[in-house]
C-alpha cells in the first residue's frame, strides 16, 4: 500500500466518523432530511468563502460555509412557522434555491475557482493527498486530513461534554426545557456541528454522498441496539468499515471512491435491515407468522376448554367447526401436541393439565389485560411480547 492510498483511507475513515456522530442525533430527532438541505445550501457559502480566502481548506471558509448551513435551518423554520407551508415543503424550497445560487456563482466565475459542479456533487477523495499542509517547509500530510481531524476532535469533545443534554433534549423536549437545558440552544448547537462537519466533508465526498455518510450508519445501528451509546459506537464502526471497504471496492472497479463508499453503506444497511436479530425484516416476518399461529393455538385451546362433550372435540369436527383450512389446523394441532398441551385419543382431543393451566392464564390476560398476568409466559410465546 502506497502512502497516498493510506492517506485517502485515513481521510475517508475520519470523514465517516465525523459524519456518523451528528448523524445519530439527526436520525433520532427525525431530521435526516435537514442534513440533505444543509449539504446543498452550503455551496454558495463555500464559493463566497473561497472568493475571500482563496483556499478551499481554510478554517475561515469552513466557518463561513457552516454559517450558511445554519441560516438554511433558520430559514426553513421561519417559513414553516408562518403556517402556510409544511416542514418538508419548506426544506424543498430553501435548499435548491441556495444550491442554485452556488451553481450560478461557480459558473460565472469558473476561471477563478477550482470548483466544478461534478466535484461539488460527488467530491474527489483521490485528489485529497495532493493538497498538502506545510509548516515551515515541513510536509505535515494532506490538508483535508488536518481539517477533518480538527472537526472530529471538536465534535467528539462536544459529544462527551453534552451527551446527557443531547440525550434528554432528543428524547423529551418538554422535560429538557423544564429542567433548564434549552432545547433551542441544543438544537442550534447540533445544527452548527452538523454544518461544520458537512462543510469539512464536502471536499472529500460531495453534497449528495455526505448525506449517506450521516444517515446510513445511524439508521443501520438503530436496527441493532437499544442503547444510545452503543448506537453511536456501532454507527462509527459501520462508517469506518464502509469507508475502507469502499476505498478498496473503488480500487477494484476503478470507480469513484465516494460512490463506492456509499454503495457499501447501502449494502451494509440492506443486510442489517434483512437480518438484524430483533428489528430485521426476516425476524419481524417470522415473529408475525409465529404470532398468527399462537393466536390460532389459543383460539383452539379455548374452544377445547369451553366444550367437554366428545362430539365437539372430535378432530374432524374441530376442523369444520373452527373453520380453518387443513394446513393451518394441522400446524396448530402439531404445535399444541409439541407443547404437551393436548392429547389425542381415538380422534378425540383433550386438554392436558399443562394445556388447561396455559389456557387459564391466557384467558386471565385476555379478560383483564393486566401485564403482570403474562410476565411468566412471555418467554415462551411471541404473542405476548408486544
Amino acid at each position: 500500500m502506497s502512502n497516498p492510498q493510506l492517506e485517502i483511507q485515513l481521510i475517508a475513515a475520519i470523514v465517516a466518523v465525523a459524519c456518523a456522530i451528528p448523524g445519530v442525533f439527526l436520525v433520532l430527532r427525525k431530521m435526516a432530511l435537514i442534513s440533505d438541505a444543509i449539504s446543498h445550501s452550503i455551496l454558495p457559502g463555500i464559493v463566497i468563502g473561497f472568493f475571500i480566502t482563496q483556499d478551499l481548506n481554510s478554517p475561515l471558509l469552513i466557518l463561513f460555509a457552516a454559517l450558511t448551513g445554519v441560516i438554511t435551518v433558520i430559514l426553513v423554520e421561519v417559513i414553516q412557522k408562518t403556517g402556510l407551508v409544511k416542514e418538508d415543503t419548506a426544506i424543498g424550497l430553501v435548499f435548491p434555491t441556495m444550491f442554485s445560487i452556488g451553481v450560478i456563482l461557480i459558473a460565472k466565475n469558473a476561471n477563478d475557482i477550482h470548483l466544478d459542479v461534478d466535484a461539488v456533487l460527488l467530491g474527489e477523495l483521490a485528489f485529497a493527498p495532493f493538497d498538502r499542509m506545510f509548516i515551515s517547509g515541513m510536509d505535515m500530510g494532506p490538508k483535508s486530513l488536518w481539517v477533518m481531524g480538527g472537526v472530529l476532535l471538536v465534535s467528539i469533545t462536544l459529544l462527551i461534554l453534552f451527551f446527557k443534554e443531547l440525550k434528554v433534549s432528543t428524547f423529551d423536549v418538554g422535560l429538557s426545557s423544564a429542567l433548564g437545558f434549552s432545547p433551542v440552544v441544543l438544537h442550534y448547537g447540533l445544527m452548527s456541528v452538523s454544518s461544520v462537519t458537512i462543510v469539512g466533508a464536502f471536499d472529500a465526498v460531495g453534497a449528495i454522498l455526505v448525506v449517506a455518510l450521516m444517515i446510513a450508519p445511524a439508521a443501520t445501528a438503530y436496527l441493532l441496539t437499544n442503547d444510545l451509546k452503543r448506537m453511536l459506537v456501532l454507527s462509527v464502526v459501520f462508517g469506518v468499515f464502509s469507508a475502507i471497504a469502499g476505498y478498496w471496492l473503488a480500487h477494484l472497479l476503478d470507480a469513484s471512491i465516494s460512490g463506492s463508499m456509499t454503495t457499501v453503506l447501502g449494502i451494509v444497511f440492506l443486510l442489517v435491515y434483512l437480518f438484524a436479530p430483533k428489528k430485521g425484516l426476516i425476524s419481524v416476518l417470522y415473529r408475525q407468522k409465529q404470532q398468527r399461529t399462537e393466536v390460532s393455538l389459543i383460539t383452539f385451546l379455548l374452544h377445547l376448554n369451553n366444550h367437554t362433550e366428545k362430539s365437539e372435540r372430535h378432530i374432524n369436527h374441530l376442523q369444520e367447526h373452527i373453520n380453518w383450512q387443513k394446513v393451518r389446523s394441522k400446524s396448530v394441532v402439531d404445535l399444541a401436541l409439541k407443547n404437551n398441551m393436548i392429547t389425542i385419543d381415538n380422534h378425540i382431543v383433550s386438554l392436558t393439565e399443562k394445556g388447561k393451566e396455559f389456557t387459564g392464564k391466557a384467558l386471565d390476560y385476555i379478560l383483564t389485560n393486566r401485564d403482570d398476568k403474562i410476565e411468566n409466559i412471555k418467554d415462551d410465546f411471541f404473542l405476548f411480547r408486544g
Binding site: 433520532l28 446527557k164 440525550k167 428524547f171 422535560l175 423544564a178 429542567l179 442503547d227 444510545l228 401485564d371
Partner: protein
C-alpha cells in the same frame, strides 16, 4: 390549608399564531393541595402547565413559584409530560429514563453518578418497576411507561409536581397505583397539579380543582366548587348526570 402560595399566575395570556388559547388567567394554588385541572379538549390545560414551566412563552402575564420566577425555582418543580409526547422507540432503558430526572439538579455537563443511580432505583421501586429497570422502553406497556415517567418525577424530589394526563391509556391497577403515590406525596406536604380528564373520579382523587376553558371558570376546594353549575359553565352542556354524588 397552608397559607403559603405554591403557584401564583397573574393575567396570563398565551397565543398560538396570535390566536389566544389562554385568556387572562389568574390562578393561585396553595401549598399542599392535590389539584385537578379539568376542561374540554382545547381548553388550554396542557398549555397552562407548559406556560408555568416556561416551555411556552406567554404574550402577557407573570408566573411565580413560591414567590419567585420559575427560572430561579426550577429545582423545586418536577414535570410529567403527556406520555404521547415522546418517541418510545428511543434507544434507552427504563432506568436511564428515570435517571433523566436527576439531570436538573446536576446542571450542565456533570454526569449522573452512583448517588443519582441509587435515587433512580429507589424511585423505580416506589412505582413497582424495579424488575423492569433494564427493559428497553418500547417493550413496556402503556401503564408501565406512565409509571416510568412518574418515577422520573419522583427522583427530582421536588416540592411541586406538574402532571399532564398521567392516567391516559393506563389500566385500572396502574391508575390506582399512581393515585396512591400522588396522595402519599400530598401527605408529605407536596403540591400536585394534574391535568385530568375523567370527571367521575375528581371528587375521589383530588381535594382541589380548577375549571378551565380558555378562561378560568373557577378554582378552589373540590367540596365547595365541584358542582353542576361550574361543570356546565366549563363544558357548555348540562353535566348533572356526571356528578350525581
Amino acid at each position: 390549608m397552608n397559607e403559603k402560595l405554591a403557584i401564583s399566575v397573574d393575567d396570563l395570556t398565551v397565543a398560538y399564531n396570535y390566536k389566544p388559547v389562554l385568556w387572562d388567567i389568574d390562578l393561585e394554588v396553595p401549598e399542599g393541595v392535590l389539584m385537578a385541572i379539568v376542561g374540554p379538549n382545547g381548553a388550554g390545560k396542557s398549555t397552562l402547565i407548559k406556560s408555568i414551566l416556561g416551555i411556552i412563552k406567554p404574550i402577557a402575564g407573570s408566573i411565580s413559584i413560591f414567590g419567585k420566577p420559575y427560572d430561579k425555582q426550577r429545582k423545586l418543580v418536577a414535570y410529567v409530560p403527556q406520555k404521547g409526547s415522546v418517541d418510545w422507540d428511543f434507544p434507552t432503558t427504563a432506568l436511564d429514563v428515570v435517571l433523566m430526572g436527576t439531570y436538573g439538579s446536576l446542571g450542565w455537563i456533570k454526569r449522573p453518578g452512583q448517588k443519582e443511580k441509587k435515587a433512580a432505583l429507589e424511585a423505580l421501586e416506589k412505582v413497582g418497576m424495579l424488575s423492569f429497570k433494564s427493559r428497553q422502553i418500547s417493550q413496556l406497556s402503556g401503564g408501565q411507561q406512565q409509571r416510568i415517567f412518574l418515577a422520573r418525577a419522583l427522583v427530582q424530589n421536588a416540592s411541586i409536581y406538574f402532571m399532564d394526563e398521567p392516567f391516559q391509556g393506563v389500566d385500572a391497577t396502574t391508575e390506582i397505583a399512581i393515585i396512591n403515590i400522588l396522595k402519599e406525596l400530598r401527605k408529605a406536604g407536596k403540591t400536585l397539579v394534574v391535568v385530568h380528564h375523567d370527571l367521575q373520579t375528581v371528587p375521589e382523587y383530588f381535594d382541589w380543582v380548577t375549571f378551565l376553558n380558555v378562561k378560568k371558570i373557577a378554582t378552589g376546594p373540590v367540596k365547595d366548587i365541584f358542582n353542576d353549575d361550574n361543570l356546565t359553565k366549563t363544558y357548555g352542556i348540562n353535566y348533572k348526570v356526571a356528578v350525581n354524588k
